[in-house]
Amino acid sequence: MTGVSKTSPLSRAAKWFDPRARTISTIGFILNRITALGLSFYLFLHLIMLGQLAQGPQAYDGFLATVHSPIFVFGEVLVIAAGFIHGLNGIRIALNSFGVGARYQKATFLVLLSIAVICSLIFAVRIFTV
């Protein structure tokens, strides 16, 4: 008999991100998990980078010059978009879990995702045009 457990953790994790034959709510789950991982990575990277502040003005201003290069700015936009998606979706999950609107979660998700996309676009435009 083939069990569920014989696979490696990685291949098990890969199953989370397979949206085939799944509904829109799974997209919510996938996005939430990806943004969770991305934001966690960013959080600790950010904390380490901010250590430059303790090194004094030259170090920090030099660091700022680096992060103003386009590739870092693009990364910043990703972080903002991830923040919006994760935050707004998180509100839905929190509400559902306290017994609010679980029957309307699909509609809620679509509305919140639209808001997240619009807000991310506004920020992206602002950041790239400044």
């Binding site: 069990g3 569920v4 989370w16 799944r22 509904t23 789950f29 306290f98 679980a102 979660q105």
Partner: protein
């Protein structure tokens, strides 16, 4: 009166003993208004007598014929061929995920049945208890003094567990049907059950993909029930936080009676 026939290719997952699994193809002439299970039964009857699959009632009361049809979890006895493919199309039939495969399309339901028993899900209930969701309540004699005993909505088909992304990576997770069963039984005053659902493998493991509700063929709405169960568990924990360990006091009081 005959609707035009369709030709559909059934691609069926095969597994025998320790041999490697593979897919077999069977081209069948079907009526689009037949059910997927009818096609599978015909493959067994006329093409390959070695095909193993679970089925019994053929009208969605027993929950035996859950499979994956083109990737999606379906109760095949009520899934019209018309709704899942087209003339000349393909039906890829696979066993449910997250259950051990016995052979071909047949899986071992032991895990689910064991856990349903653990959470004391009652196979028959009063009608009022089954109708927790008022808008889904069927038309008919409602709200009268007389109540009816009836078989529970959950048919233990396992489709929700097959569709759940968390059950997929973490077999210890109790799973949607089981948590829905616990919700239906009620955790009020049931210390054992509260402990079970409020554990690492209980309600907190759900990550709101709501696939369970999407695939449930039997009006159980496991996703909603898990969320409602969370509310109840949180409520219970807060009550205890402010009242200290009062349940123990009640226990001893009852014991002394």
């Amino acid at each position: 009166m005959s609707t035009p026939k369709w030709v559909v290719t059934f691609q069926i997952y095969r597994k025998k003993g320790n041999a490697d699994p593979h897919f077999d193809e069977f081209k069948l002439e079907v009526s689009p208004d037949e059910y997927v299970l009818d096609g599978i039964e015909r493959v067994w009857a006329f093409h390959d007598r070695s095909l193993a699959f679970r089925h019994a009632c053929h009208h969605s009361t027993c929950g035996a014929c859950g499979m994956r049809v083109n990737g999606a979890e379906k109760l095949t006895c009520i899934t019209l061929i018309r709704d899942v493919t087209q003339d000349g199309g393909v039906l890829r039939i696979e066993p449910m995920r997250n259950f051990p495969v016995v052979s071909d399309l047949a899986v071992d339901m032991g895990i689910l049945y064991t856990r349903m028993e653990m959470v004391e899900h009652q196979p028959v209930n009063s009608d009022a208890k089954e109708a927790i969701q008022p808008e889904a309540r069927p038309a008919g004699p409602v709200g009268e003094e007389e109540d009816y005993i009836r078989l529970s909505d959950c048919i233990e088909c396992g489709l929700c567990i097959s569709a759940c992304p968390i059950s997929g990576s973490s077999p210890e997770y109790l799973g949607p049907a089981v948590l829905a069963g616990a919700h239906q039984h009620g955790i009020k005053g049931n210390e054992q059950l509260l402990k079970l659902v409020d554990s690492e493998d209980g309600v907190w493991r759900c990550h709101s993909a709501f696939e369970c509700t999407a695939v449930c063929p039997s009006f159980v709405e496991p996703g909603w029930r898990i969320m409602d169960l969370r509310k109840q568990v949180i409520g219970e924990r807060f009550k205890r936080l402010f009242r200290g360990s009062s349940p123990k006091i009640i226990d001893t009081m009852e014991a002394s009676k």
